[in-house]
Amino acid sequence: MPDTAPIRLLLVDDEPGLREPLAEYLSRQGFAVTQAASAAEARSILRDDAPDLVLLDIMMPGEDGLSLCRHLSEARAIPTILLTAKGEAMDRIIGLEIGADDYVVKPFEPRELVARIRSVLRRAAKGGGNGTAVEDELFEFEGWQLDPLKRRLTSPEGALVSISSVEFRLLMAFLEHPRQVLDRDRLLDMVQGREAHLFDRAVDNQVSRLRRKIEVDSRNPTMIQTVWGGGYMLAADVRRTKAPA
């Protein structure tokens, strides 16, 4: 980003062996990086300064990353990406529920981290702020249920249906605009998430994958209909309910 002021990052990690080379790498990528070795140090830096984004290690002695993350999301509204050593589903849920915008699993590819930083900042700039963590409500359509927070789609029979993150965002786009024709560009725009390489992926392909999972007969789709003249529409009533605590 040559013309604008550099993006300011706060990197919080107790391991100097990782923190220092990562800070160095991110600086080379054009970010202005401040380092903190603990949550306490991060808090003291945050008192005087408001970085654009915080990179936060979860496992730290003393106050851990999750607690600091909650504070950042509630009190400061600073976008956060968690750095975690565990890749299990629980951590992901906890991470997103406590207000983190994204997470990477160690060992991550540095380039992927940069892509995610840009993606989170782009979403934050669009005014979404906390892009991933949606209000705690459930979407219900044709007996199906989607819990956006936990990214769980359940079929009318009550079975868990796996969908990829792109499919999830595509479905969210449809659910937020039921019975409206959404053209491919609009869908692409709404679906764009952390996957930077989505541009070269056809929306049609993603729609057909989603159909495969939720339509009774994916060759004769009834829920997600193709609209002549370029676009798709969710032909179902959507009900929003409060998620049980």
Binding site: P21, G87, A89, L160, V161
Partner: protein, 464 residues
């Protein structure tokens, strides 16, 4: 028929032993009774003979006494004075009884030449039999027991002539046998009742301990330990078992903590390394380094997963398997890999999705690595959801098929350095299948020409 439980075997064994002991003592008692009766009969006979002998000498003196004739007539019924031996051919002589009789009579001062004792049927003396029958009819049950046969005792007097008496032998008393059987049954009831109580005290905690062990083996949860109960030995067993359970649980916890620490402590420096190689100028060199790090990470993940697979922390949830398989196939498709998944019917199976994804990914990567392509099918067969991953590779020699599922084994060792990985992929996939109560099998696919045209990995998951 033979009981399998401790209680059953003990009870049956003791019942048999008691039955045998009772049988022996019944036989002994019976014999003693018979002997006693025999002796009593001989005594009766002896007394009659002595009396008759004495009377014979007194008879002349007392002949004139009134009523004596009647008395004598009555005596005639039981006492005879034959001239010759009453023995008939075929008579079985009771030698012991004869000796005893002779001895008693000699002691009483009688001089006898010989004695004969035999058993005869009632019909041998019809008048006596008639009298006994009338007596029995008159007295009914209150009289002496019904005679069975007659004991005939005769002695040859040294003075010449024989004296013969008939003593009715009563029937064997059935009441004695009945009381004996009753006594045996009572003994049985008491003994077996007491033993059942004692053994129950032992086996009840044993059965509870067995249930507890089975549950612990299945869940490895320490909660719900048994309080020590029962006899001291069992009590000690329970205490020892509880201690061992605690130790095992502690070891497992320790293992989890250690694995967590390894995961964290290795992944952080690996991340640092991954960051540092970004400064390597040479593009190819950097790509190689990145690939190596990725291999290490993958192995580490496999090892950590394999160590944790037996102790999953997440519950199973009903999951649409077709969507999940499609998901995995699409992941590989997105990476440009030739993976296909034929559309299938919807099958809902209780799953731990994180684990099953891992198993499927491993099967598909394995197919791609050795067989260039992966074709996935999903079907419902006999209560199982069956996922098949087929490739077009060289397959595996039949002898090695089973070994391939063992840890750290891989086909084609020459390619190890290129493909990387610790060779845990299939082991982990099988462990995950087993974690779900299913199984994983490998088989060679026979081509049309007869040779092996690829490998089929079959993952079966129970539907219920």
């Amino acid at each position: 028929m033979w009981p399998r439980s401790l209680q059953g075997q003990l009870l049956l064994g003791i019942a048999l032993a008691v039955l045998l002991a009772q049988g022996i003592s019944a036989a002994l008692l019976w014999r003693a009774q018979v002997e006693r009766r025999e002796a009593a009969l001989i005594h009766t006979a002896a007394i009659r003979i002595v009396t008759a002998n004495r009377e014979a000498t007194e008879e002349q003196i007392e002949r004139r006494r009134p009523g004596s004739r009647l008395l004598a007539a009555a005596r005639q019924l039981r006492i005879e004075r034959p001239d010759a031996s009453p023995l008939r051919p075929g008579d079985a002589r009771e030698h012991e009884a004869e000796e005893e009789l002779a001895e008693i009579l000699t002691n009483q001062g009688m001089e006898i030449a010989s004695a004969v004792v035999v058993h005869r049927p009632l019909g041998d003396a019809p008048r006596l039999a008639g009298k006994l029958a009338r007596q029995a009819a008159l007295l009914g049950e209150h009289g002496r027991p019904q005679p069975d046969h007659l004991l005939v005792a005769a002695v040859e007097l040294k003075a010449g002539g024989w004296l013969l008496v008939r003593v009715p032998v009563p029937k064997g008393d059935p009441a004695i046998m009945a009381s004996f059987i009753g006594q045996t049954l009572l003994l049985f009831a008491l003994l077996l009742g007491a033993i059942a109580l004692i053994v129950g005290r032992i086996t009840r905690p044993l059965a509870a301990l067995t249930r507890r062990l089975e549950r612990f083996a299945a869940t490895r949860a320490v909660d719900g330990q048994m309080p020590p109960e029962g006899p001291d030995d069992i009590r000690r067993l329970i205490v020892a078992h509880n201690a061992m359970e605690g130790r095992i649980a502690a070891l497992l916890d320790e293992k989890d903590v250690m694995l967590g620490a390894i995961g964290h402590d290795l992944k952080t420096p690996l991340t640092a390394l991954r960051v540092r190689i970004e400064s390597v100028e040479d593009e190819t060199e950097r790509a190689k380094m990145a690939a190596t790090i990725e291999d290490i990470v993958r192995s580490l993940d496999d090892i950590l997963s394999l160590a944790r697979v037996g102790r999953p922390s997440d519950p199973r949830e009903p999951t649409e398997l077709s969507a999940l398989v499609a998901n995995i196939a699409e992941e590989f498709e997105d990476m440009g890999e030739p993976v296909s998944f034929a559309p299938s019917e919807r099958i809902v199976v209780p799953l731990r999705t994180t684990w099953l994804r891992r198993a499927l990914r491993n099967l598909v990567s394995n197919a791609l690595r050795y067989g260039q392509t992966a074709r996935i099918t999903l079907t419902r067969e006999n209560g199982f959801a069956v996922i098949r991953v087929e490739d077009d590779g060289p397959g595996i020699p039949d002898a090695d098929l089973e070994r391939m599922l063992e840890p750290f084994t891989r086909g084609d060792p020459s390619r190890n350095s290129v493909t990387g990985g610790a060779g845990l992929g299939l082991t982990l996939a099988r462990a995950i299948a087993e974690q779900h109560g299913g199984s994983l099998r490998l088989a060679n696919r026979q081509g049309a020409a007869g040779g092996v045209s690829g490998l089929i990995a079959t993952l079966m998951l129970p539907l219920g």
